[in-house]
């Protein structure tokens, strides 16, 4: 190949797994089969006592000058909460997932040679692996209910239903017992049952572009009662006396952001150095909640190093890192130059 090949200065890929926001409903576990009997989970405001920062000093209530804020007069705050109402024991989470064709085809690239080279390596990868490994792992993350985030913790049962929608109608559907599938690792494909394999094949076909694939995903979480967890809104610079926690809703129905769903689905990277659990596919292997990046440029295990080495220096990454690079292309994003 050409030795003069340089990284395209403008390079972008579109997201190939495109989930919708998830909507939250509540009802009874027995009613899973039915469409009726599921009402939206609503968000309500709740007043809470904030922590009193100036602790009472000295003897109890010995405060003639009233220096200390009294217990009767705490910092009142409002927060949003969402709970299953009386009579409901099950949370239903519903979203759709569009699988788009054209993995590895940039949506913007200003170097035709570079673009050509990308398509070469993508082809090589496809020829030797296909997209089956990635598709299998994405499927696994649907089937194990990872996208439920906190709503999956400490619950009795979780059932996932995936439907393949063709021309607006369900063509085929599969059911999974989510709690029987691990969040810590991916079972090998050979252990997987038919439903997992079938859905994986479908996602693989969607990504490789032989057919457009639309899936509808429903999760039923039997939790008894209690709090459920929609996404939290991130609003900077809130004014004084404003709500300290705002939950996401769509037309009054509690929801989980599409970004959050997407993040769970692409939590398939177990190929980073000294991996002990799957992390979301990100160019630097970054995990926001931990404030940590697991794929460091100095170790040449980040996307940019791997991709450049592969394309320009013809240094073929390990099979595992090839999966990672392809998964970043499925994730999409603006690359070009390193973003830092």
């Amino acid at each position: 190949m050409s030795e003069k090949l340089e990284t395209a200065s403008v390079l972008a890929f579109e997201r190939k797994l495109d989930p919708s926001d998830a909507l939250l409903y509540h009802g009874r576990w027995e009613g899973r089969e039915k469409n009726v009997g599921w009402d939206p989970v609503r968000i309500r405001e709740k007043s809470v006592r904030g922590t009193i920062s100036n602790r009472l000093k000295g003897e109890k209530n010995q405060d003639p000058l009233k220096i200390n804020a009294s217990i009767e007069n705490p910092n009142l705050q409002t927060i949003d909460v969402a709970t299953l109402p009386e009579g409901s024991d099950t949370l239903k989470v519903h979203f759709s997932l569009r699988v788009l064709p054209g993995v590895g085809v940039p949506s913007a690239c200003n170097s035709p040679e570079y673009k050509q080279r990308i398509s070469e390596i993508v082809q090589t990868y496809m020829d030797s692996h296909g997209l089956s490994e990635l598709a299998y792992r994405y499927t696994f993350n649907l089937a194990n209910g990872r996208f439920l985030w906190r709503n999956r913790l400490g619950v009795e049962r979780v059932e996932i239903r995936i439907r393949h929608i063709v021309e607006g109608h369900p063509q085929k559907s599969w059911t999974f017992d989510a709690l029987s599938l691990s969040l810590r690792q991916f079972d090998s494909v050979s252990q997987a049952g038919d439903p997992l394999r079938e859905v994986a094949a479908l996602i693989g076909e969607g990504l490789s572009g032989s057919r457009h694939v639309l899936l509808e995903v429903e999760a039923f979480v039997r939790m008894g009662s209690g709090e459920v967890y929609p996404s939290q809104e991130l609003i900077l610079d809130k004014g004084q006396g404003k709500k300290s926690k705002t939950l996401y809703h769509i037309d009054g129905i509690a929801g989980i952001h599409s970004q959050k769903i997407g993040n769970a689905i692409r939590t398939i990277d177990t190929w980073y150095p000294e991996a002990s659990f799957p992390i979301a596919v990100e160019p630097y292997g970054s995990v926001t909640s931990e404030g940590k990046a697991y794929r460091q440029p100095r170790e040449k295990t980040d996307f940019y190093s791997l991709f450049d080495n592969w394309l320009i220096k013809d240094k073929i990454p390990t099979q595992e890192n090839q999966h990672f690079v392809m998964a970043v292309l499925v994730r999409g994003g603006v690359f070009g130059e390193k973003s830092e």
Binding site: V10, D21, R98, N110, L214, L234, K238, G239, K242, S286
Partner: protein
């Protein structure tokens, strides 16, 4: 060239729901995504159709927008302003949180109406029209619309409607169309108001500029009017505060209308890091005008609904043009 480009059919894609659409339409406006995003969608759609099938012969020339619902993802209002809800960005490789330039996002439900020029062999057969409408709308569903994505299963059956030569038939067809777009609001151009307001302002203040007129129309102006309570003495006068928005009683909004150029045209490839090296390049800024959200039942013709792109070489202006002509009843006098 300000005339509407030819169209002999309308492609109607009713009630698509879009999530994560870009609600910051320009450096000075937010709300419904920019018209330029929809013109961009139209161009990208045509290229995509041709790319998939070199025999594709339908030209997309203009686009109409009807909004049925709009839910911006904004946080609680503080005293004067609204803040955007954000999504958390991945941390940097050193584990630090990245500082963010805020992005505004919205969910919306809208109908798209495309003015198309199609070969007659497609238009004569109802079967062909149905198939074609479905094919195009499928492609749109896979595309980004104003940075957002289409929520699957949301749109209703798309239609490709022939625009009849006969005035009476055309009128009836349009009446049917606009009814089907209710309830909803279409965005039309009201650049006439910009000029009208400027003339009025100039009567009060001779050096008023279009910027003053634009801001004036973009906000609610409340002015004190003295009402004499009949008694003598200045101090007894009661002031009534009159609001311009109430007087106008129309959904007049500031909108980006396209781009004004900042430089000449740079030859293809002469500016570094552009998306290709085969297209001439130009630095531009947003240009702004006034639009109105109006019920489609107030429109009398498809061209009042449609927007198309125009390049004004003399002024280096790339603008979105719309064929709306206000009538007396629209002024709600």
């Amino acid at each position: 060239m300000l005339d509407i480009p030819d169209f002999n059919a309308l492609l109607v894609i009713p009630r698509i729901r879009i999530q994560n659409a870009n609600a910051i339409s320009a450096p000075l406006t937010w709300g419904f995504p920019s018209l330029t995003a929809f013109l961009g969608l139209m161009g990208a759609l045509e290229r995509k159709m041709i790319h998939a099938d070199s025999e594709f012969r339908i030209a997309f020339n203009s686009i109409g927008i009807v909004c049925h619902r709009f839910d911006p993802q904004v946080g609680s209002t503080n005293f004067f302003t609204r803040k955007f809800s954000l999504t958390r960005n991945p941390v940097k490789s050193n584990g630090e949180t990245d500082s963010i330039i805020e992005e505004g996002r919205a969910r919306l439900e809208m109908s798209l109406i495309l003015g198309v020029d199609a070969p007659s062999e497609i238009l004569v057969s109802e079967e062909e029209r149905k198939k074609m409408a479905l094919r195009i709308s499928r492609t749109i569903e896979e595309m980004r619309i104003a940075g957002g994505t289409v929520i699957p299963g949301s749109s209703r059956t798309p239609r490709l409607e022939v625009v009849d030569e006969d005035i009476e038939k055309r009128r009836l067809a349009f009446r049917k169309l606009r009814r089907s777009l209710l309830p909803g609001f279409s965005l039309v151009s009201r650049e006439d108001l910009l000029q009208e307001r400027l003339d009025e302002l100039k009567e009060e203040k001779a050096d008023s500029t279009p910027l003053d007129a634009w801001l004036d129309l973009s906000r609610n102006n409340v002015r004190a009017v003295i009402q004499d309570d009949g008694q003598d003495g200045e101090s007894d006068k009661i002031a009534t505060w009159v609001s311009s928005r109430k007087e106008r009683r129309r959904w007049i909004v500031p909108i980006p209308i396209g781009y004004g150029s900042l430089t000449g045209i740079h030859p293809a490839g002469s500016v570094a890091n552009t998306r290709d090296s085969t297209t001439p390049v130009r630095f531009v800024e947003s240009a702004y005008s006034i639009g109105e959200w109006i019920g489609p039942h107030h429109l009398s013709d498809a061209r009042e609904l449609l927007w198309w792109g125009h390049y004004d070489e003399e002024h280096g202006l790339y603008r979105c043009v719309n064929g709306y002509k206000p009538t007396r009843e629209d002024d709600h006098v």
